[in-house]
Assembly symmetry: C2
Homo-oligomer: 387 residues x 2
Amino acid sequence: MTPTRGFPKSEFENRLKIIQASMVADEIDVLLLTQEHDIRYVTGFMTPFWQSPTRPWFVAVPQSGMPEAIIPTIGREVMGRCFTGGVHCFAAPSNNDDGIALLARVIRDMAGPEAVMGMMIGPETKLMMPLMDMDVLVEAIGDPVLVDATMILRSARMVKSPLEIAKLRHICGLASDVFNAMPSWLKQGQQLASVFTMFKVNALQSGIDDVSYLVGNAGQGGYDDIISPPGEDPLVDGDVLMLDTGCVWDGYFCDFDRNYGFGNVSSEAHEAYELLWHATEDAIQGLKPGMTSADLFGIMKARLGGEDGDDDVGRYGHGLGIQLTEPPSHIGWDDTVLTENMVLTLEPSLSLSGGKMMVHEENILLTANGVEMLSKRAAPKLPIIQG
Amino acid sequence: MTPTRGFPKSEFENRLKIIQASMVADEIDVLLLTQEHDIRYVTGFMTPFWQSPTRPWFVAVPQSGMPEAIIPTIGREVMGRCFTGGVHCFAAPSNNDDGIALLARVIRDMAGPEAVMGMMIGPETKLMMPLMDMDVLVEAIGDPVLVDATMILRSARMVKSPLEIAKLRHICGLASDVFNAMPSWLKQGQQLASVFTMFKVNALQSGIDDVSYLVGNAGQGGYDDIISPPGEDPLVDGDVLMLDTGCVWDGYFCDFDRNYGFGNVSSEAHEAYELLWHATEDAIQGLKPGMTSADLFGIMKARLGGEDGDDDVGRYGHGLGIQLTEPPSHIGWDDTVLTENMVLTLEPSLSLSGGKMMVHEENILLTANGVEMLSKRAAPKLPIIQG
């Protein structure tokens, strides 16, 4: 069943409550957000317009009370329908002030000139405003103290609500069906670029909103990288093809891949596929709430062998939600405790001979009892396309 | 004819020469790039992997000699095929250093501990690395002086090469054909969301790589915003539908829109459409190299009337290339001189009664003689879909 688009107000009230409790604990007076996913998480503001790099967007969250949006006029209508206490608009683009004076006024009104201002400035964050404007902002506010608030949003976002889980389950199911139909149309002689196009068209026609992310590669017995745009060489006997997609429905991502062999594939590739499948299976069977990301990594590593950090991908999966990749990282050093209602990828990888590699990925929900599959489980043996 | 994908080495040599000449003039020892489009412009590095927010990517350009890439190991293979003098890889994600120590070493080797380091920190830029890591980087380099280098890349990128123009002409032509086929399948009763899907599918099947940006709206006699995701209301008699797309071919964008009326549309909407068409036509006929963006804005404003800055969009077009929107902005204050081989959008807009609006957009190349159309010119009167 297709979930309802959007969220009720109560969803945003819950998110705000969690965030503001952390702000109180960390003595942060105001939280300034500039990243698309953070702003969407707090307010529900969703638009493809983030592709347009001209104008910055800001949301300020006080320790109590509603978030305030400080945005270019072009977004007034859409943000007006979102979860905010007020929408403050500035004319943009501007030759001398892309909203900084207005933003400073809102922050001063909210928390005074000596506010402790939290921002997302730690690992995996970007500053989605000009760096030069940071100095201007700080001066215009007065004497604020800038602190790292990365963990506040990170912690809130890692645990998904039932409504978020429904959307993630839906997109993972849709993308699984697109993958599962591939053997009916995949053929030797096709170019990788045309495989990409077919995949995207099938995805869109199945009810997926966007194929925001699609990478893949093919080569004899494996592939040599996993982030290339598609090439124009035809698929031939002995190739292994991998497609990895981040499809989106109502702003929520899946992120998993599938491998397909063509004709007579090397025994090394068959064995690698099965080893990766079993490493994933070990994780699916063994993962319980209370384990850490490092524990989860360890379960898969135990099956695969090898040294930590000896592969290019650098981790065996991550969080998943309104971004293609979210914290935590399944890697030896990440001691994030995995709890009920986290949505995660399991993504073990192997280096093969001749500089080749293989990756395998599934999407799961962690429940009180263990793992619920969100992607439909890959076949235990490498699917072979004949002819 | 479909252009060749990618660029010959000479293209990147020319770009580097222009950038390094500006670095010499501005006394910048090293240019540090973190944004996807800047890195792609200098090195040719292209991957959908930028969707994955976990890992930062860096390119350092010396005053003379080749650019050096400092990137996560996962990108080694793809960056290895790009225009760099060296690819330095760091394990990522990391619990304590996402490449900063390595980046600092490369910059020190390149320009010493007291380098004048240019970064893209001015208008329309983002810092695509954690802000906290900036302090760590500065300390690890030694005593660098950070200066704004926004104008260096901006100036280089604004003027397109013949090979870039060929790609832009190609994508604008493809997207024009997708729009021109719309009246054959658009019908009252369709939901906007399904119109979006049809448009994307047709685009992909016509040879477009990705529909990276698609916004649109519909309403009686006009629409109330232009950045919403699509809704599920059916199109009805009297509606005006607008679709605005940034389709991509080999990393180059088009950015234009088309309007369609359904059945009996208000005379205000018909008149607004024609007024916008004529404002665009005035620009197409009147624009010559040597005029400024403000002059171009003035040509369109003279036809449309009204006060400067009284509309939500805030400008009447912009540059176009490897981003959906690039400098300059066609607006009263932008005195950027428009020269031969700039690719621009013309995008006048009008406010209508009842909070409605209408937008119109074309993509053009500025030549020595004036304007070459890249998008296929919109009809002079609002196309009407009957039934």
